[in-house]
Symmetry: C2
Subunit: 248 residues, 2 copies
């Protein structure tokens, strides 16, 4: 079994209203590659947020008293703090200039996904309002334009407890099930697997990050040859339910 | 940029004393593939533990009083509980039949890495004593036998807080640096990246899992075309220092 991960070069700067599926198709065509049924397209959150107008001008933010107080406490720009608080459903942990929040989507991440890298200066970017829907839009557009059935993953870079360094994970999916459930199946020794659900959408996002990097200007990757479980699927399945989570 | 992930088929059942580098080289040769300088070989922990004799017969374990009491409390075989306690440096969390421990290596994982899948019945497997050394041995043996310079990652399947499903991570590395540190570098908009260290060894382990699966009998993968940062490296760099970890 062989899986290929191909970085898509030449995606132009994305602006509010940019049609991502068309930009992706054009760039892939220019590379001399033909999309195939069963390909997975991984798209970084940043260009999705740009296309969906999820950039905010820092100068136009008026911080609340709470944001000003917290900004002082955590040595952060109070306007940035205001945006983070707006994105948060709940604050999970605050310490040492790190603010970990649960976003409205249910994702638990630093700064609620609010970020300043790889966007014009003076702006901050927010996560897409509904990353599954963003993924579905790209998938549906590719289907309409090329007649080809691909899965789409919107990826973002998250930290995690206990382990150093960040990894890319899936925050939106379309056309694939994000988890493979092995429970009840038997291994080669006849042992019934008891717990293993694999978060393949996260593993695919991490695999795509290898060709994207942070400075290569490659916001899109094609993953080819992976027989993913097809289906509607939602990245919300990757959010552990509070009742099952020991670390809320 | 294109990265390939190739599942290595035909690795025979591994026993204590099996020479993994030789088994891997033979299987790759039979697939008609030639190893190249710069390839990354990802090997699942399970066959490393088997080769290093890290299987314990459950019948031979005598549980302590503590293990018996905890086994009753958490509805686990007290002998299994005994092994888990032996592997633990510290218990991080116990609840609902889930025991998360910090292993002697510093890894934080369920059951201290003690596992019963994909090994003969009646046994449990422990993590390798020093997975970096296990990786180095395979790397050095391949160098000696073929004259080829590969990096080696020992991978294992870990759960994580907040997100559903498991992913494969690196528990041992040789010949590559497990983290890429982007701090201080500038993105295409001239914004200086402040925090992003990418855990590429974990992303590589996750990518390899895609071809391994849990039931395919593919315990080894080759990752080709990824320009990893060379160097000594240790998977211990992936363990967040207690002083920096908000979730100890």
């Amino acid at each position: 079994m062989k899986v290929e991960i191909i970085g898509v070069k030449g995606i132009p700067e994305v602006h509010r209203g940019s049609k991502l599926a068309e930009l992706i198709i054009d760039s892939i065509k220019k590379m001399g590659i033909e999309l195939q049924n069963g390909d997975i397209i991984v798209v970084t959150q940043k260009i999705v947020s740009k296309a969906e107008g999820r950039l905010i001008k820092i100068d136009e933010i008026i911080p609340s008293k709470l944001a000003i107080r917290m900004g002082r406490l955590f040595k952060k720009d109070p306007r940035l703090m205001e945006v983070i608080l707006n994105e948060a459903k709940r604050i999970v942990k605050m310490a040492r200039a790190i603010i970990i929040v649960e976003t409205k989507h249910g994702f638990i991440c630093a700064n609620g996904g609010v970020d300043q890298s790889n966007i014009p200066k003076g702006f901050v970017s927010l996560l897409p309002v509904n990353p599954d829907r963003s993924a579905k839009r790209i998938r549906d557009d590719i289907k309409r334009l090329l007649g080809i059935d691909v899965a789409v993953i919107i990826s973002d870079t998250f930290g995690r407890p206990w382990r150093e360094g960040h990894v890319d994970v899936a925050i939106g999916v379309a056309g694939l099930k994000p988890l493979i459930d092995y429970r009840g199946q038997k291994d080669t020794h006849g042992y019934e697997l008891k717990v293993t659900m694999m978060a393949i959408a996260d593993e695919l996002a991490s695999a795509a990050e290898l060709v994207m990097g942070k400075l290569n200007n490659i916001p899109v990757a094609i993953i080819r040859g992976y027989p993913y479980p097809k289906g509607e699927g939602s990245a919300r399945e990757l959010v552990r339910r509070a009742s099952k989570d020991l670390f809320r």
